[in-house]
Symmetry: C2
Subunit: 242 residues, 2 copies
């Protein structure tokens, strides 16, 4: 019901899906419980069995896993409009953590509510399924990123990805975008140590490719960055029915 909560979801879904009036009304009729969190709070914990899904209305979140010997790996970054734990609707048990990066406005939607709405709106169900598939596609690219790209390319690739995704929902100003992430977490995204993350970032700055400040990044030369990273946006599936 609160228009602003649902609208974040509608904007995001519309990037990759054709939504008709019926779908939009169905989304607007969802009961969404609003909640506000600070930075670095656990939203949903590994091993838990959530009964609702979490929509990011404002702010940033990440999903991560910690290995048996305490090494952390970030699996994905999430932006407004994302439902990072949509998979919990059908998987039941969480196999990773969902954590806020920045202070967040979140909307929680009960599984029962989603089950019901997808049953009555198969087209919307397909759109949500598609969102989880795009999620999977981004995971695949991250496997390539940590598996086969050198540190510099790896970081460039990540920054372009986030820029493209934010651009699609209208949250960039040129090459600039907000992403309040520490170098520690950035390293955990890239499978690098903090020290090397720091040096790699300096290299990108030195090449005049990227500027950073506390709250975000500025991509100074997107063309050259894409060239460097070997970036191909296909995997983001940012247009409907592509």
């Amino acid at each position: 019901m609160p228009a602003n909560l649902a609208s974040a979801l509608i904007t995001k879904l519309a990037v990759s899906n054709h939504l008709d009036g019926d779908d939009i009304r169905a989304i607007q009729s969802l009961r969404i419980r609003e909640r506000h969190l600070g930075a670095r709070e656990i939203i949903v914990a590994d091993g838990s069995r959530p009964g609702e899904c979490c929509l990011i209305v404002e702010g940033f979140a990440s999903r991560s896993k910690t290995t048996a010997d305490g090494e952390r790996q970030v699996l994905s970054l999430h932006i407004p409009g994302d439902i990072p734990d949509l998979q919990s609707l059908h998987l039941g048990i969480m196999d990773h953590d969902l954590v806020s990066l920045s202070p967040c406005a979140l909307g929680f939607i009960a599984h029962a509510e989603l089950t019901e709405v997808t049953a009555r709106h198969p087209h919307l169900a397909a759109a949500l399924w598609r969102e989880t598939l795009i999620d999977g596609s981004i995971f695949r690219e991250w496997i390539v990123n940590v598996g086969r790209r050198a540190a510099l390319q790896r970081m460039a690739h990540l920054l372009i990805e986030v820029h493209e995704r934010l651009e699609a929902i209208g949250r960039t100003r040129g090459g600039e975008f907000s992403l309040p992430i520490t170098q520690i977490d950035l390293g955990d995204c890239l499978g690098l140590s903090v020290v090397h993350t720091n040096r790699t970032l300096q290299a990108l700055r030195g090449e005049r490719l990227v500027e950073t400040d506390k709250s975000g990044f500025n991509l100074l030369d997107q063309e050259r960055l894409k060239e460097l990273a070997g970036f191909d946006r296909t995997y983001l599936h940012l247009t409907p029915s592509s």
Copy 2:
């Protein structure tokens, strides 16, 4: 129609889903076009727009991406009962290759056929959605594997994963299982060079943890391997509605 084709799918789906008689009849009524391929053939190519999904009836396949500068990364390994390109049903364009590892018996099912059956059987649709979510969960673990585990742990983790998945569909004899993969491809799974893959495998053999032959592996001490790899099977979601 051909019972043996559908039964591979039924066996696999039943591992992670509760299927009722209606679901099973729906699967058995699917029109599945059978095809046989040799080893190392491209089943579906990156960039293509397939009109059907590919069920593995017999044999093994892998999905992989190649970076701009020619580095290959394997994203997943697939076993009988898997539909490795199920995501194409909703994503349209392939963002990676699907390739046979061994000679395969495949069953192709038209997208239209799947769309129709999922519309009429929402419970089956949920099961297929769930399969794609498990796919995604395995990708997440692979990100951790290449991002944060050392070569020895990494290889141990992969071998245990494949063993667990094959065991669930009844295709292991104790620690033994078939997986006809070259060290080149194994390296591409793990983000390692062939040389280092070879040495890592020798280390596992030296520890009397693993035996290999042309066609597969024998895990000599699963407990110790799991301990070494820090293996937690949760992410495989091998029980229904867990």
